[in-house]
């Protein structure tokens, strides 16, 4: 399968682009309302995770002062 895939890859990059662009055109794309909803959901989740993680990291500061 490996060589077959590789052959396909080197021989027909043009076809790859044609297939790809056709696929992207066919895709259902999110409309702006859906997009912003997802951005908000993921953004909130991501930032929340980051803040919690950073809070843990902040604990490191006094520890560093104490021990190093």
């Amino acid at each position: 399968m490996a060589s077959e895939g590789l052959e396909k890859f080197t021989e027909v990059p043009v076809e790859f682009f044609k297939d790809g662009s056709a696929f992207v055109k066919k895709c259902t794309k999110p409309d702006s309302k859906e997009y912003f909803k997802i951005i908000r959901a993921v953004g909130v989740g991501f930032i929340m995770m980051g803040v919690v993680g950073y809070a843990v990291k902040l604990v490191h500061i006094p520890i560093r002062y104490l021990i190093v």
């Binding site: 993921v42 980051g50 990291k57 190093v68």
Partner: protein
């Protein structure tokens, strides 16, 4: 199945390999949250400075891997020095080797599956030992070991042993923490969960990091967070303000705002791409009136192709660094070593920049200007990343267990078929869509990542892409679990408030 197999070698190590117990009962939703958060916090605690180094060692180490740290949660001068690199490398090596039939394994047999899994763990341990030994041997820590002067003193063997055991020990624990995730005690996959956590933490830290560190080779100090530093140094004097803003975008010892905007842009684009999908109409073969759609995403492989590519690049760079140092120690002529790679220290950040050699062409530039100044390197680098990721996506869509064949089998088990198609042609229909989706998805993702790198993202764009994609996967698993548990969870009240 006769003859010698590589897999059988692992049997000798089985009795000493620690193995997290399989959950015999279904882990409840609440327990899973506790396990996820607990191991996440413990993982982050691994960023404790290594015992034996001078204080603020993370700014004094001459660092050749500054481009890749973000992607693998490798924290300079801390217990997480190796980050997730050993585990990720081991996983890719084994899963690709089996998928491409490079080694002889019958995963249908429980025994082989057990050996396969233990093989991944063993490889991860061995890689950790190899990386740690290589780093120490290469003199990576020499400039920061307490009370050691490389010019006058002999080899500080005692310190070396201490450092080695700290890094390797923590790497072992990281692997075991990943195992806790993967065995079903937590949500998602261990590797991706930790990467997401690390990326999110760094994203926040880069922007509003409160810690104040001294700037190397000067007597000033600045805050870690780019935005926070800008606010802290705010002044009404216009020339000073201008200078400060310029500094916020260009400083190189600490994260700067350019990287932040690249990350932000990457997030927006990835979220958009993540929702590109082809919806295949499906109908149930059991219930008449049930019609639905089965989405096949453009990013069929998520961020794995990108992660794979960077695993390769980082490994090349690390082993290249070892090789350069080993060759130098054996007094090979410096012209020959320069063919492989030549490092030069950058005074503002203590980063070891590659200046020439083979390794140079497989590294990214740290600023937009330097990528324009060395166009050949940029082109080679871009081509390498894009080609490897698309190749991997093509392979992975067949070997990951979500191939057209597997999916159609799954359809059959659940009594689903594609509307207007016979059962037999499901596989054919799916294999028309899935590989194309995987390949074009990986292509667009890698182009996005590389664009960020060329503009000077220093791996931040890449890590953000991996992080956001993984966050989607984890969120999905979390939501499914949440809906199945219904309301009987202690935490659901808390989530309802959001």
């Amino acid at each position: 199945m006769s003859g010698f197999r590589l897999l059988d070698l692992i049997k000798f190590f089985l009795p000493i390999l620690p193995e997290v117990e399989f959950p015999y009962e279904r882990i409840s939703f609440d327990e899973r949250i506790v396990f996820t958060v607990g191991s996440g916090i413990i993982f982050l605690f691994g960023q404790l400075p290594i015992y034996g180094l001078v204080s603020n060692a993370q700014f004094k180490i001459e660092d050749p891997f500054f481009n890749y740290r973000n992607v693998f949660a490798m924290e300079k001068g801390s217990l997480l020095e190796l980050g997730l690199l050993p585990a990720i490398t081991a996983a890719f090596i084994w899963q690709l080797a089996v998928g491409l039939k490079l080694i002889n394994v019958n995963l249908g047999l429980v025994q082989d599956r057990e050996l396969f899994q233990s093989g991944q763990k063993l490889t991860s341990f061995l890689l950790a030992i190899g990386y740690a030994a290589g780093l120490i041997y290469s003199g990576y820590y020499d400039s920061v070991i307490q009370g050691y002067d490389p010019l006058t003193d002999g080899l500080p063997i005692g310190w070396y042993v201490f450092i080695f055991f700290q890094i390797v020990g923590w790497s072992f624990f990281t692997t075991l923490l990943i195992e806790i995730f993967d065995k079903g005690y937590s949500f998602g996959s261990g590797i991706l969960c930790f990467l997401t956590l690390q990326t999110a933490t760094n994203f926040v830290r880069d922007l509003v990091g409160l810690e104040i560190f001294p700037i190397i080779n000067s007597n000033k100090s600045e805050s870690y967070g780019a935005l926070f530093n800008l606010i802290r140094s705010f002044s009404f004097d216009l020339t000073v303000l201008k200078q400060n803003i310029l500094n916020a975008f260009t400083r190189s010892q600490f994260p700067n705002l350019t990287q932040f905007y690249i990350s932000l842009l990457s997030i927006f684009v990835v979220i958009g791409l993540q929702n590109f999908r082809i919806e295949i109409p499906i109908r149930s073969t059991k219930v008449r009136a049930m019609n639905n759609v089965y989405p096949i995403r453009l990013l069929y492989c998520g961020a794995l192709p990108l992660l794979f590519t960077y695993t390769i690049i980082t490994n090349i760079q690390i082993f290249g660094y070892f090789l350069v140092n080993i060759l130098t120690k054996f007094n090979i002529s410096s012209e020959l070593v320069a063919l492989l790679g030549k490092y030069q220290i950058e005074a503002f950040s203590n980063d070891l920049q590659l200046k020439s050699g083979v390794l140079f062409y497989l590294s990214n530039s740290s600023t937009f200007i330097s990528s324009i100044l060395s166009p050949i390197r940029s082109v080679i680098y871009v081509a390498f990343v894009v080609i490897i990721s698309t190749w991997f996506a093509q392979q992975w869509s067949y070997i990951s267990g979500a191939s057209p064949k597997d999916t159609s089998k799954q359809f059959k088990e659940q009594g689903i078929s594609i509307a207007g198609k016979r059962d037999v042609s499901i596989t054919k229909e799916l294999s028309r869509v899935i590989p194309v989706a995987a390949v074009s998805g990986a292509f667009s993702l890698s182009v996005l990542a590389v664009a960020g790198e060329i503009l000077g993202g220093l791996g931040k764009g890449v890590s953000i892409i991996v992080g956001v994609c993984s966050a989607f996967g984890i969120l999905e698993e979390f939501m499914i679990e949440y809906q199945q548990t219904g309301g009987n969870s202690q935490f659901s009240g808390a989530f309802g408030g959001l």
